[in-house]
């Protein structure tokens, strides 16, 4: 890739986080693909660089930031539930696969004691021997030599036992086929039943989820009604941005508590990894009020800790589409916007 000095320079720049994007991509790809690098040294430098800020005089963040983190986690509940579900499904599938393999082994073990493979092979070999011997005996019987006669007599007595063995073999093989057939049939049936159970479980979980969502919706509506009946309220009518003429919204804002309720109608759809982010624009600067995950069931959101600025200082409220984790400054499209219209 490069000489030792160049490699050292590259790992230092990577550890210090000051590579240009193009070099960063090249280096990271090389690192991820297991390229030849002094990895221990890179690890030491990464630890060293991360220790730089430990000397700073630390300042505790305000308590409300912790609340915001907690609220964000609650907003992410659905996403995390999906992740947990996916994790569990993966684990269950792995367990089922392991169990199935073990089960198959058990069945084979059960079949083996009836007649071992060795025994079957031996029986077939013997049966073949008998079959090949018989025509010879018949051919030579015409020559009427005493030796052959003796042999023929011997063959006749042996023939009886050979017939018995053959019958036994045929019966055993038939039994094996029947057992295999039953096993396959039962296995198929069990699989079908398992599928049905899994599908019923899925259906049940879906219904449970819907029930919970409905319960939550009723409780949220109650909360919303309680909130709206709560004293003096400023109302901000939101209209759709340039490309979203059908989108409408209303933000109720209580100066008394600093809390708000946002109701959306026909909100523009956002990508899977995006959310709505509500901003307050004051003196040309956007302040993030909240990141609101899109929700097909609920059309309203509660927003807490809205800065209680005088109305004259608030230029605008706007909603943009941003990554799920939210943005520090608005980077997405303006989906809805509006300012104070009246006080209710």
């Amino acid at each position: 890739m490069a000489n030792d000095n160049q490699i050292k320079e590259m790992i230092s720049a990577f550890a210090a986080g000051c590579m240009d994007q193009e070099n960063f991509i090249q280096f990271k790809e090389y690192l991820l693909k297991g390229g030849d690098l002094p990895r221990r040294e890179l690890g030491e430098l990464q630890n060293t660089v991360a220790l730089i800020p430990i000397i700073l005089q630390q300042e505790k963040p305000q308590a409300e930031i912790k609340k915001k983190v907690a609220k964000r986690l609650i907003d992410l509940q659905d996403e995390i539930k999906e992740k947990i579900k996916a994790q569990k499904i993966k684990e269950t599938l792995a367990k089922e696969e392991a169990a199935r393999t073990a089960e198959e082994e058990v069945h084979f073990d059960e079949v083996t004691p009836i007649l071992t493979t060795k025994e079957i092979t031996e029986s077939i070999r013997q049966s073949k021997k008998q079959k090949t011997k018989l025509p010879n005996t018949i051919n030579r019987s015409g020559q009427a030599s005493s030796a052959i006669k003796r042999k023929a007599e011997h063959t006749e007595t042996g023939g009886k036992s050979s017939k018995l063995t053959t019958s036994f073999l045929i019966a055993a093989i038939l039994f094996l086929f029947a057992a295999a057939g039953i096993y396959l049939f039962l296995g198929h049936e069990v699989k079908n039943l398992n599928k049905r159970i899994a599908s019923l479980n899925k259906e049940m979980n879906k219904l449970k989820k819907e029930l919970l969502a409905n319960k939550k919706e009723v409780s949220d509506y109650k909360q919303l009604l309680k909130f709206l009946m709560n004293g003096k309220m400023a109302v901000i009518e939101l209209t759709g941005g340039k490309n979203y003429p059908k989108a409408r919204g209303r933000l109720y804002f209580s100066y008394e508590t600093g809390d708000g309720a946002l109701i959306l109608e026909n909100p523009p759809k956002v990508k899977e990894d995006e959310a709505y982010q509500l901003w307050l624009v004051t003196q040309g600067k956007s302040i993030s009020l909240d990141v609101l995950p899109p929700n097909n069931i609920r059309k309203y959101y509660f927003v807490f800790n809205i800065p209680r600025l005088p109305q004259s200082k608030i230029q605008l409220f706007r909603i943009t589409n941003e990554p799920k984790a939210g943005s520090v400054i608005p980077l997405g499209n303006t989906l809805l916007f509006g300012t104070f219209t009246k006080t209710e």
Binding site: K8, E9, S12, A13, A15, A16, G17, C18, M19, D20, K28, L31, L32, L37, R39, R40, L42, G43, E44, L45, Q46, N47, T48, V49, A50, L51, I52, P53, I54, I55, L56, Q57, Q58, E59, K60, P61, I65, K66, K68, V69, A70, R72, L73, L76, E79, I80, K83, I84, D273, E274, S288, E322, P323, K324, A325, G326, S327, V328, I329, L331
Partner: protein, 194 residues
Amino acid sequence: MKQVGKYSNLDDSELIRKISKYDSRALEELYDRYSPLLYTLIKKIVPDDLTASNILVEVFTIIWRKIDKYNFRADSPYTWIVTLARNRAIDSLRRTRSLHETNYYNDEFEDYFVLPTLAEPIDNIDLRTAANIKPSMEKALEKLTDSQKYVIHLAYYEGYTIKEIAEKLNIPVEAVRKKINTTVHNLRDLLLSG
């Protein structure tokens, strides 16, 4: 409260393991431990307190959402968390500084450019170890030359790339690359010897 006490006995790696199973109390403990350091670091990078607060919230949201990307084979929780916070803050600073920022911030961008990729093997450092190393780090940074201190400040706290530092100081890119290399290696050696 007793439960929180139980979590306070866990080391950072154990907390990360619990967070990887979406244990919110473990994240709370991690927040209590790391938020003062991360908040201070982010505040030093971005221009105002409000942005710093928002980024701190984001950092813990990222930890929660992306904990499945944590590589337990390169287990150095302190380095992973601090680097993540630094990367997120620097990205925000670069976006504010550059009008030509073309990268859209989405999950893909976050996974590639914000989540740290630590080397394997790496020594396990947690916050307690880092706090013990603090006096040695202060001494090591003191021993750097002024130009080394300046370059590392521009790179680490101001988020300038090698090319940008070269343009800013009007010196060749090669010289900056060498300076960063010497500084970072010096720091490591001073720490190891101190």
